[in-house]
């Protein structure tokens, strides 16, 4: 996997509270595969408070994906739900709401990263011109 995934979890570990994840409760473990190696990040969310561990610990929701695929999820080049349907992201679905809230959190993060352009004039959906995802 690339640096993108590692940087993403490092950044997440640094943050202490994520409002977008405030309704999530539990541990979601990401098993990110690259060739024969698997790196694990266990993200424990308690009403928006986030801790990240790289220990192989039990989780409420386990998500498995290839490193390159996960990089694309982080940058927004790929969509988590489409990748789940396609079988590129595999999850046990016992607590899918954890992955779903995480998916939205990642999307919002992409929006924040993209919204650096100055806003356009009023009208024409003025907020939209800042931060646009093209396919």
């Amino acid at each position: 996997m690339g640096d993108i995934t590692t940087a993403f979890f490092d950044e997440l570990a640094e943050s202490d509270h994520q409002p977008m994840l405030r309704r999530a409760q539990g541990t979601i473990r990401f098993d990110i595969e690259s060739g024969r190696t698997t790196k694990r990040w266990a993200v424990t969310i308690d009403r928006g408070a986030v801790t990240v561990s790289q220990k192989n610990r039990a989780a409420d929701c386990v998500v498995r994906a290839d490193g390159a695929v996960f990089d694309n999820l982080v940058t927004g080049a790929a969509n988590t739900f489409a990748m789940m349907l396609r079988g590129q992201v595999v999850t046990d679905l016992e607590h899918p709401e954890l992955l779903l809230l995480f998916h939205r959190f990642m999307r919002a993060r992409q929006q924040a990263a993209a919204a650096t352009a100055p806003p356009a004039a009023a009208g024409a959906g003025r907020a939209r011109s800042a931060g646009r995802t093209k396919r």
Binding site: R23, N79, L85, G87, E94, E97, Q111, R126, R128
Partner: protein, 692 residues
């Protein structure tokens, strides 16, 4: 789908077969076993000694189970049967079929019983459009099971057919050679599993042709459990609902039909735990739709408030977060439609999910407030504060495409996005009186009403739940300004009604339509204009005698059997009646309720999506619009909302106000155990002045 098609379902798993229980799908036929928007069986034919069977009768046991009584023969009228065949089928994670053959003769018989099976793994969108598959099919034959599979890269879907008896399996079916003694019977059970369909607790297959450990361990006993669970679940659902007592037997039938169909249409999106929300309709729309789920939850609030709770939570979880042109997604926007099939997986369709709707976002806020008013569940209103604020922000910052303070829509996904993003979403639904179609973007009137209502209601939530009176003041000021603007810009002065829409230049799209009824519901109509609006709704041009037409007679595009340009929609009418009551037009609301509920009698209590706009006096019966979607959630919910409207049920603080206004000849209506923040209350009403 043939007219005698039999459908049974559980969530978004459903089976459509003919009245023999057979499935013979063509590329554009909706027969089959479907799960997660994929057809897991396209052929499922039973023969005895090489002969197809004839149907004697079909028992619809429950919405998830059917029983087919069959006899061999050539299909002539006279059937001299020495054998009977019973197929009993129940849906639940695929389906389970019990096959029973009875020998009525004095002699033993030896029979070859054959099930032919095939799966095309068509996506629902492919069934609609008949497109070719891009992946590879495979089969695997085992001792007592047949696996049909489909793989496209890592997208894998499999159908596993298994049985316990002595059976020969080949790659196109299963054959039993059975000997049955005189007056004895033979039984077997066939299990069909849809593997790879997304559902809670299910693991997707890892490699083509290799069922996972989870699948293997779940195989036995699961189907029986699913059936028992569903049966208990339906009983509990019916027991929990308020009890209706009335003089009118037809109303009782319609009420029960609505409750049972609503139970059938419940759907657990992956996010909702064990809770469920209303899917839109069978068979095309067994999925989460923002608009349909919200409207149905609103209709059902006095009867099953938990549907609203799930709808709100699920839609909040999926709320848009990013500007994404392919999905027409914006931060704060509520989804339009979610799909689980191959075309969504490979992003050939944008439904992962698709956000192209211009009303669900406002309606989300409306539902949150209405839900709190009924249930007193302040905790949810607080929990969803950020989502509600994001939705309100969407109205101002993303939907105002012309910078003139109105909600407009125009798709950014020009290939597969929706052109009309309001509930009347067919191509010709938004027109001028003279039939011209406006360009894009378009601002239909009801979208402004919903935005107004969302702001007014959010102001209340801001005070009681979010403790932000300054925000409440701002919202109320914005709502008041919107109302002033709207009553000026949309009012067609020479016709005394509101325009259907504004075009991109702010010109009035001046057709007279049912949309003006929604404006009453939202409260955006100036009091001084309400009487004229009510008069139009009840005029011969709009009111057919059964209900209010989508488009008025006399408009260029009016067509009594045009999807959104002349038909009568029960759902539409239920909100129009609610709106009329809001402005004090009690008798008018009751007339609409009576018309639609009368129509329901002709459909055994199951209101169709729409019926023809012909004069009631002309046809004497409502002419069903030819569509395969039945039951449909918001038609199912319509009788419930009519009951609320007729009984005048309205939360007021911690009390339920009951202010009935029944139609003529309604007699007496009592509704017991209406749930809400008051605990449970009963409502009684009687129409005293019987006329004619």
């Amino acid at each position: 789908m043939s007219t005698d098609a039999v459908s049974i379902l559980d969530g978004n798993t459903f089976v459509v077969s003919d009245n023999r229980g057979d499935i013979n799908a063509t590329p554009t036929d909706t027969s089959g076993l479907f799960a997660s928007d994929t057809r897991f069986l396209s052929t499922w034919n039973l023969t005895v000694d090489g002969q197809r069977l004839n149907s004697l009768s079909v028992d619809h046991l429950e919405y998830f189970a059917s029983r087919f009584f069959l006899v061999p023969g050539t299909g002539t009228v006279y059937v001299d049967a020495k054998l009977s065949v019973i197929r009993q089928r129940a849906v639940g994670d695929g389906f389970r079929e019990q096959l029973t053959i009875l020998n009525h003769s004095e002699e033993p018989v030896t029979l070859t019983v054959r099930i032919d099976a095939a799966a095309d793994f068509a996506d629902l969108f492919e069934v609609k459009n008949a497109t070719a598959k891009k992946g590879k099919h495979y089969t695997r034959v085992d001792k007592r099971q047949l696996l049909l599979g489909y793989a496209r890269e890592t997208f894998v879907r499999e159908t596993l057919i298994s049985t316990d008896g002595d059976v020969q399996v080949d790659d196109s079916g299963l054959t039993f050679v059975v000997r049955i003694q005189p007056h004895e019977d033979w039984k077997t059970e066939l299990r069909v599993e849809a593997i790879g369909a997304l559902r809670r607790g299910a693991a997707p297959p890892h490699r083509p042709g290799t069922p996972t450990a989870a699948t293997k361990s779940r195989r036995r006993g699961e189907a029986e459990n699913a059936e028992a669970r569903m049966s208990r679940n339906l009983d509990a659902w019916l027991t929990k609902a308020p009890k209706l007592d009335c003089d009118n037997d037809d109303l009782r039938v319609t009420y029960r039909r609505s409750l049972v169909d609503l139970a059938a249409l419940r759907f657990s999106p992956l996010v909702a735990g064990d809770y469920s929300l209303p899917a839109a309709g069978l068979p095309w729309f067994m999925t989460m739709f923002g608009r349909d789920s919200i409207f149905t939850s609103l209709q059902a609030l006095p009867f099953a408030p938990e549907l609203a709770r799930t709808t709100l939570r699920a839609l909040a979880d999926w709320q848009g977060a990013v500007v994404d042109d392919f999905r027409d997604e914006d931060p704060g926007r509520i989804l339009h439609e979610m799909r689980y099939g191959e075309t969504a997986a490979f992003e050939e369709q944008p439904h992962s999910p698709y956000y192209g709707t211009a009303d669900a976002t406002q309606l989300f806020v409306v539902l949150l407030d209405e839900y709190e008013r009924w249930t007193g569940d302040l905790a949810l209103a607080r929990q969803l504060e950020p989502e509600a604020r994001a939705a309100l922000n969407w109205i101002d910052e993303y939907a105002d495409l012309r910078g003139n303070g109105y909600v407009y829509y125009e798709r950014r996904n020009e290939q597969t996005g929706l052109e009309n993003q309001c509930w009347k979403d067919s191509w010709d639904s938004i027109s001028f009186k003279d039939g011209r179609l406006p360009g894009f973007p378009r601002a239909t009137c009801e979208l402004q009403g919903y935005a107004y209502d969302a702001k007014v209601r959010a102001a209340r939530l801001a005070r009681i739940a979010w403790k932000d009176p300054a925000f409440a003041d701002r919202l109320e000021a914005e709502a008041a300004a919107l109302k002033r603007r709207f009553n000026r810009d949309f009012w067609v002065a020479d016709g005394q009604y509101f325009a259907l829409a504004l075009d991109a230049d702010g010109n009035q799209v001046d057709a007279l339509s049912s949309n003006i009824g929604h404006l009453l519901w939202s409260g955006i109509v100036d009091k001084s204009k309400a009487k004229a609006v009510a008069r139009h709704l009840m005029s011969d041009r709009l009111f057919s005698g059964w209900g209010v037409r989508t488009l008025a007679k006399g408009e260029q595009r009016y067509n009594p059997i045009g999807y959104h340009v002349g038909t009568v929609w029960p759902f539409d009418n239920s909100f129009i009646a609610w709106g009329l009551r809001r402005y004090g037009f009690h008798d008018e609301a009751a007339r609409i309720a009576a018309g639609i509920l009368d129509a329901a009698v002709f459909f055994d209590g199951r209101l169709p999506e729409a019926f023809g706009g012909y004069e009631r006096s002309l046809t004497r019966y409502p002419v069903q619009y030819p569509t395969a979607c039945s039951p449909q959630a918001w038609s199912t919910g319509a009788p419930l909302l009519f009951l609320r409207t007729m009984l005048g049920l309205e939360p007021s603080g911690d009390n339920l106000v009951i202010d009935p206004a029944l139609p003529d000849n309604a007699g007496h209506i009592a509704l017991y155990d209406i749930p809400g923040r008051w605990g449970q209350r009963d409502a009684f009403a009687r129409r005293r002045s019987l006329r004619g």
